[in-house]
Subunit: 344 residues, 2 copies
DNA sequence: ATTAGCACTCGTTAATGTGGAGTGCTAACA
DNA sequence: TGTTAGCACTCCACATTAACGAGTGCTAAT
């Protein structure tokens, strides 16, 4: 099942051509290409072999060939020329970081937008899990007699806030004491551990210093319970509508509905090992994604992986360009975030 | 141009039927309805008159009739029976407020979601303009030597935060002083006035107490400049894909792309007078919306209008039900928010 | 091993025909 | 005079047919 050089060439040209045109590729049009110096009949023979091996398919008996999933896979794994991005693309990516930005979310959102504009695919970014960020400071600000806002600031500058109900019996000086205790004990604790830590370490201390501490303990623990997951950022959700493979409304609706399910997307995209990953069609383990490919790249601060940046497109995707773009972006993004978060 | 009772009846039945079936309504099928006791020939005569007056249209020479925009308008203005919502709908709406919620955004987001699920249309909620909320407290929390987070809490419990660059020359005790001055001078000031107020009232005071106050003044003023607009909440963006009138991908794409333009939607929905408004087709002043109707309702806290809640659907929309739902929801929502914000 | 040639397949498009749902008009009727 | 039955007519929707062309597989010649 080793492919000859000629078969490799033909497979590559077929995939390239189909990615460009979205039309099945025939032997005659292939034979006219510069790269190809043999006749259409020869090509037909080779194509028959490639088809037998499962790399290409016909849409009907007398149609040209279309890459199969296996074909795309082989193309991505072995035939992708390490394409150099065109200088314009490079400068657009770098423009994301041109102005100084302090806020994680803004950088991320902008990255997603620009990526989707450059590619005409959908881009999705999985933000960092704020749960692992360490608490820098807690503030509690009473709004009125009954409610107050709790504000958590992490060492990365992320701010979480919750409004909660204030026990009637609590006076201001006590509240101040509580905030002091919380800051003292919880500073440096990852947000996701706050809930536990409050019961384990703060409860006792509160008991010593605050009358009716019990009224407050539960509320505060609940208030600081972290929401489940990482935040998602989208851009170009409607770009899929421009892809010729999605001329079918039912298909589009299924896909867009899926995309709107954040839990599902999070699972799809979350990735453990660093680097670029390409999932083609049914490799995504979902029938609705069978005409889609998903390319993901992780970004980090220092050595710590923060999140994932992904491009969702049709299986007929510009793999080479998208991979290059993601490589560049994830690298630059990591550099900026590393600096922003002062890793060394 | 006054319509006879019989014409009114026929118009009403045509609109009702078309809203239900999305099919042009013919004289024969009309004559079979219970409500209608005269023959198809009579109906044909009446329909010819209604068409001449512009209330209904043919899609082609020998087709049944379809309501025109004018027909819908008349239907909405005069023929809408003040329908009583079915009890199930009522209880679903009320379930939104069943559990106690303290946060504006959560209530709003949930309202939008439930509304879109109930109607199968797209629902859009325009949040309040946080600019008019009054500042309750400012906090500035240094993250490291170079950056700090500024946190603004309003009297409604809304929290805004910005990360900014800290002048090198500033020491901690000075920062504390600054925060005290800011709180003293800016407390109670609407967020949108902060920027001005800082120059008018805070600048002098800073000058007196802080060396190199100039380094900080501009940064802080910029940091507190409010972002332009009200926040938007969406639900059911893809519901439009299920409507038979949007079988055309290009149309859908235009519409969805429009919906993603927040500035545009904000302008479309923002409404000055209180109460329900129905905009049918081209009344929305935009060619992409010509097959859509938009029903908006405002919600308030006390006497103050906070925002708008809207349903976007095809012109062939269930006006009666949607209007009733919006009336109920905006009423209940206003009640909850009034309470939440402690108006009397 | 390569390629020219040819019969064959099948999708696409245009042309043609048929059935049915609907209309407008006319004449008869209560 | 308002209502209705009847009828000719229109036009969409759908199916059938035909022509075309892009493509294939196979065979035989180079």
């Amino acid at each position: 099942m080793l492919l000859t050089d000629r078969q490799l060439l033909i497979l590559q040209v077929i995939v390239d051509d189909f990615i460009r045109s979205a039309q099945p590729v025939g032997s005659r049009s292939l034979s006219k290409k510069e790269e190809i110096s043999f006749s259409s009949a020869t090509i037909r023979n080779e194509m028959a072999d490639l088809e037998e091996m499962g790399f290409i398919e016909k849409t009907h008996t007398s149609s040209g060939r279309v890459p199969s999933e296996k074909g795309y896979r082989y193309y991505v794994d072995h035939l992708l020329s390490p394409q150099t991005l065109n200088p314009q693309d490079i400068s657009i990516i770098q423009s994301i970081f041109a102005e100084r930005i302090f806020e994680f979310e803004k950088i991320i959102q902008r990255s997603a937008r620009i990526l989707s504009e450059m590619t005409n695919y959908t881009s999705i970014v999985l933000g960092q899990d704020v749960g692992i960020n360490k608490l820098k400071r807690i503030q509690i600000i009473p709004l009125n007699k009954e409610t107050a806002v709790a504000i958590l600031v992490t060492d990365t500058g992320h701010v979480e806030n919750r409004t909660f109900s204030l026990p009637a019996a609590l006076d201001m000086s006590e509240l101040e004491k509580i905030v002091n205790i919380l800051n003292e004990k919880l500073s440096g604790v990852p947000l996701e551990d706050l809930h536990d830590k409050i019961f384990k370490e703060v409860a006792m201390l509160l008991k010593q210093h605050i009358s009716r501490y019990d009224l407050f303990l539960h509320t505060i623990a609940e208030t600081f319970k972290m929401p489940a997951t990482e935040k998602l950022f989208f851009a170009g959700k409607t770009n899929m509508l421009s892809q010729p493979e999605f001329h079918d409304i039912a298909k589009i609706r299924n896909l867009l509905t899926m995309i709107d399910r954040e839990d599902w997307i999070t699972n799809l995209i979350r990735s453990n090992q660093k680097g670029i990953s390409v999932k083609i069609g049914s490799e995504n383990q979902n029938s609705i994604m069978e005409d889609c490919s998903l390319i993901t790249a992780t970004y980090s601060a220092g050595t710590e992986k923060l999140g994932t940046i992904a491009i969702l497109g049709p299986t007929r995707m510009e793999y080479s360009r998208v991979i290059s773009l993601l490589q560049l972006l994830s690298h630059d993004l990591s550099a900026v975030l590393t600096k922003l978060y002062q890793y060394k």
